[in-house]
Symmetry: C2
Subunit: 433 residues, 2 copies
């Protein structure tokens, strides 16, 4: 029992994608970094286990950011008057070029990691840049932070500025994978909380040859893969030109063997019926990034349709397409844009409820972490027994109110109004940050 403890407080987590468990003054058990379940009183067998008392405070699972670009953090909330392709060329690519300089990377990634550590996200799937040394540095820093992350060295070998176009992107990827598997960070040895994810940027910036090599690397190592899909109408037209033989944008990945392992595709704003069928068949995780899809005038993804088809969905900040790193913001934005989608263009697609969007931001995205061979971490985002113990303690003290509220109401308010000042505790895999 030496690695066990209880958190006492007002506990709330998803009972299903559509409903909540709430227990006032409950006891949440952590055993060796995993949830041991939630109890209304301490069971006899656990009477010796210490209790950390957060009575009156809200305790919820940690949030997962399924799609974020670490090198874009430095220019978040800038240049928001452009669409995707113009914005990439004007803001993103010049900034990402700077990460060939390790001193710059150290400074900028330091700000990024500090911000995430302070906020409510406990897990993230991260794009770095094409640069191997800076990507390894980012992995070191994330490992040091205690957060759990998948990090990807980005692949780009066509339609990119000279400074970001790789000669042999597959070789660089192999070199990257070899270097950290041997241990990094002054002999710290292999990472505990940090793992690799293959990251072809998107079809326009990767040749077919590169894609095929990545598929081979994936097959050997069982690695997960992340990329972008059907975000912007001009981008989709471009992919049609580049891949005339593929039935749709999603097929352009699948045809090259890139949806055969655990896969995250960000956005899927304009996925049609055929593409949805493919995503369902391949069990692809969709990273829904509502703030970014709005900021870059991309559109509103048909999340209700994905959920109906059983396609797994999580939420992403997509910084710097999105401006805010907190997945609380993504939860409220997911609800908000689903309402606009229903009222403006899809009257038969019911808007997301608080329960549904909260599920997406916790267990929905966090489940991706439980699918993977080659890491020892499990799924996060639920307090059901056996899930990784990622938990947030929310002290709503200064979210002014006049009367007592139900746990469900307090959760809703935390989603819409809380910021890092309200986080009174944060645990990742059972470890307090």
């Amino acid at each position: 029992m030496s690695n066990s403890f209880f958190l006492k407080g007002d506990i709330c987590w998803s009972a299903s994608p559509h409903s909540l468990h709430t227990i006032e003054g409950g006891f949440l058990l952590c055993k060796d970094g995993k949830s041991g379940g939630v109890f209304s009183e301490v069971p006899k067998a656990y009477e010796a286990v210490p209790v950390k008392d957060f009575s009156g405070k809200l305790i919820i699972p940690g949030l997962t950011d399924l799609h974020i670009h670490a090198p874009q953090f430095a220019f978040r909330a800038l240049g928001m008057d452009m669409e995707l392709l113009e914005w990439l060329n004007t803001h993103t690519f010049p900034e990402e070029t700077k990460y060939r300089d390790l001193d710059y990377a150290r400074k900028a990634y330091g700000l990024f990691v500090d911000d995430i550590k302070k906020g409510p996200n406990t897990r993230l799937c991260v794009y770095a840049t094409i640069h191997v040394p800076a990507t390894l540095l980012l992995m070191d820093m994330l490992e040091e932070s205690g957060l759990v992350s998948f990090v990807g060295k980005v692949n780009m070998d066509r339609n990119s500025p000279d400074s970001l176009r790789e000669d042999d992107s597959a070789a660089a990827t192999r070199q990257w994978l070899e270097s950290f598997s041997k241990g990094r960070g002054g002999g710290r040895g292999p990472y505990k909380n940090t793992a690799a994810i293959l990251t072809p940027r998107f079809t326009p910036s990767c040749t077919d040859g590169l894609m095929k090599s990545l598929a081979e690397i994936q097959k050997k190592g069982g690695l997960p893969l992340q990329s972008h899909l059907s975000e912007n109408l001009k981008e989709i037209e471009w992919v049609k030109e580049l891949c005339p033989a593929s039935e749709n944008y999603g097929a352009a990945y699948a045809d090259l063997g890139l949806m055969d392992g655990p896969t995250i595709m960000a956005h899927c704003v304009w996925s049609d019926k055929k593409e949805m069928e493919l995503l369902a068949e391949k069990n692809v995780y969709i990273a829904h990034c509502p703030q970014s899809n709005t900021n870059l005038s991309s559109g509103i993804a048909p999340i209700r349709r994905f959920m109906e088809r059983g396609i797994p969905v999580g939420l992403g900040s997509d910084v710097a397409g999105g401006s805010n790193t907190s997945i609380f913001r993504a939860v409220s934005d997911a609800i908000a844009v689903s309402k606009l989608r229903q009222v403006l263009v899809a009257p038969d697609e019911k808007a997301l409820t608080l329960e549904e969007a909260f599920y997406l931001g916790t267990a929905g995205g966090g489940a991706f972490f439980g699918k993977l061979s080659g890491t020892d971490f499990g799924a996060a985002g639920s307090f059901d027994e056996g899930w990784d113990f990622d938990a947030l303690v929310i002290d709503e003290g200064n979210l002014a109110d006049t009367v007592g509220r139900s746990i469900r109401e307090r959760l809703e308010r935390a989603v819409y109004l809380s910021d890092d000042r309200h986080i009174a505790g944060k645990y990742v895999r059972g470890v307090p940050l």
Copy 2:
């Protein structure tokens, strides 16, 4: 010169609805509560005037919230899974009923005023409730805060719960207007920063007789008026039934003489061409409330069309339809929803730029305060000479960045990311709060 001072810093304000003035290390002059203009160096004639040094910090005009319900602050960010009419009956009316109790009103309005004082808004147009004593209390508290506000006792005499339906709403309004004009708050005398605005809730809750009486009261006193217009499709259908003779919802007000003085109409999400013509002819101010229109699944207002027609537009939080009181949030939301409107339903309505939305949140709404007889305050939201001196000092210190940024970029970042922690100074009519 005894009532004069300079603020030194990086100054930014609207040069037009579409462009910014920016001056690095400039000097903003305050003379007797008004702007004396902005200078790149202290002019000879003003060498004796003290300088408050905010070098390196951003100085912008105060923000105006053109539409907020003070009694709804207590339940902001709750019940966001409903549309307007259901939400009014389930959440709003039960809460507003509580304000017949002055002790409750003191507690809840105290939280409201504290929140606004800490945030970036310097002016607001406020709905209270039907209750005269609680409305006067709110005016006392707002006056005490140093903020500038129009406050309205709400009128409701039909289609309302018993607890909020007035027998003689016009008489109660006259009583309200008489009581504070005689001086309130322990003999403090007439208000300096607080004034009355007539506030028929909306057509469904006011009989024609009441509306006509309010028009008479307005004619005598030259008072401004605020109400709601064309927010939700079901509401609009209802007004059609209630006012079959009026050409549209706007005409239902105008036909009863309620658009002849200075007028604010909130929302105007579904205003058609005819209604726009009426709004333009009457020079009605539109309070655009993008977060509320999203939260309540109302839709997206055609702000580009209003601006093209020269109809004045400001921004509103519409708490508790909106969850956040900060008009910075309304600025970024106005941009966001205008992008979704363009990409989803109105390709020829260009999305709002940062410059345009910032204008709406400052001079756009603040200009309403300069139109009024019977108050001694002027328009706010600009640093052009002669405007009321409402200013914010923004210390972006902890908005992490890696490089120097232009003032325009720093403004954009403040709009998307800042919170009350970043407000290093707040002046209203020349007085620091």
